[in-house]
């Protein structure tokens, strides 16, 4: 079953001659199969006929409202102004640049100057060697690494 709003929209397109031939054929077949849809089709035809008759009979409806000039441009997102878009774009670019810089710095820091702080798992003493850390970055002060051989996590401070 088609949603009522979808059916209504398609029927309007059909009344206005805007449906492509294949879509029109499918819609006609649907109307033949679903009796309730034919009432909807009749209602849409009445409305379109009324609109046509009214517009043709009242020429004053075509005149612009007093003081109207050009029509305003349609904006898909009226709450977004160009200044806001620019500011948002600057913030996004700065954030991406910061992320990239942080990642690169973290990579460049390598494995030097780390102090091992803690170790979880088993009965190993703190300071045991840990595997390669998983999280790297400029803002990362501590790194957590899992040592598969010893089955535990090590927390080390980055310097």
């Amino acid at each position: 079953m088609m949603k009522p709003e979808t059916l209504s929209a398609l029927l309007m397109d059909r009344e206005l001659g805007e449906l492509p031939p294949d879509a029109r054929e499918l819609l006609e077949a649907y109307l033949a199969l679903v009796p309730g849809a034919q009432f909807e089709a009749a209602a849409v035809a009445r409305v379109v006929g009324l609109a046509r008759e009214t517009v043709c009979q009242f020429p004053d409806l075509s005149r612009p409202a007093p003081g109207a000039g050009r029509h305003p441009k349609i904006r898909p997102l009226p709450w977004l102004r160009s200044g806001q878009v620019r500011a948002a774009a600057v913030v996004v670019v700065a954030a991406v640049a910061g992320l990239w810089a942080g990642y690169q710095t973290g990579l460049a820091a390598g494995a030097s100057g780390r102090a091992k702080l803690a170790y979880s798992g088993g009965d190993r003493a703190p300071g045991a060697e840990a595997g390669r850390p998983r999280y790297e970055g400029l803002w990362t002060r501590y790194r957590v690494a899992y040592d598969g051989a010893r089955k535990g996590f090590a927390v080390e401070e980055c310097r």
């Binding site: 009324l50 009214t54 020429p59």
Partner: protein, 169 residues
């Protein structure tokens, strides 16, 4: 190889023929368009001439337009809006106006008229272009400078409003 000037001349002649044909096909429709908006045969004639003058100045763009007829109506729309801004909006002309005046409307039409009169300008204009000038969605989109989806949704919304009014009677 043909000289560029000759090619240009041939192109211009072809474009001018297109404009001439467009003028012949659209003259009546545009006259009615201006008459309805300005209620004066004299003003309508002036605005019709101005529309085609502007079209001739932009003749190369007619070929690029999605719909030449829609493009022409777009120019007519701007010409009409400019006339309103210059204060040449309406000069009542009883002669031609009599052809456009409605016979005594019935209740149903009067109510529909009120509903349409209360709609935003753009929606009324879309109804006018569709039901009086028979422009398609694509032509209206070209004339109004808005996406076709917007034309479709505005027109559907207008018809829904009218339907609510019909069902409330």
């Amino acid at each position: 190889m043909l000289a560029p000037t000759y090619l240009w001349e041939r192109m211009r002649r072809r474009e001018m023929k297109d404009v001439e044909q467009l003028y012949l096909d659209s003259r009546q429709a545009l006259t009615v368009y201006f008459l309805r908006r300005h209620r004066s045969a004299h003003v309508a004639e002036d605005l019709l001439q101005e529309t085609f003058l502007r079209l001739i100045r932009r003749v190369e763009q007619v070929r690029l337009a999605g719909s030449p007829r829609g493009y022409l109506f777009g120019i007519a729309r701007h010409v009409s809006a400019d006339a309103w801004r210059r204060g040449q909006g309406e000069q009542s002309d009883q002669g031609r106006l009599a052809e456009l005046e409605a016979p005594r409307p019935d209740q149903r039409l009067a109510a529909a008229r009120e509903t349409i009169a209360g709609m935003p300008d753009l929606q009324r204009e879309i109804l006018e272009l569709r039901f009086h000038h028979d422009l398609s969605y694509a032509e209206m989109a070209e004339a109004l400078g808005i996406p076709m989806g917007t034309v479709r949704s505005r027109l559907h919304n207008a018809l829904h409003l009218l339907r609510e009014q019909l069902e409330n009677e």
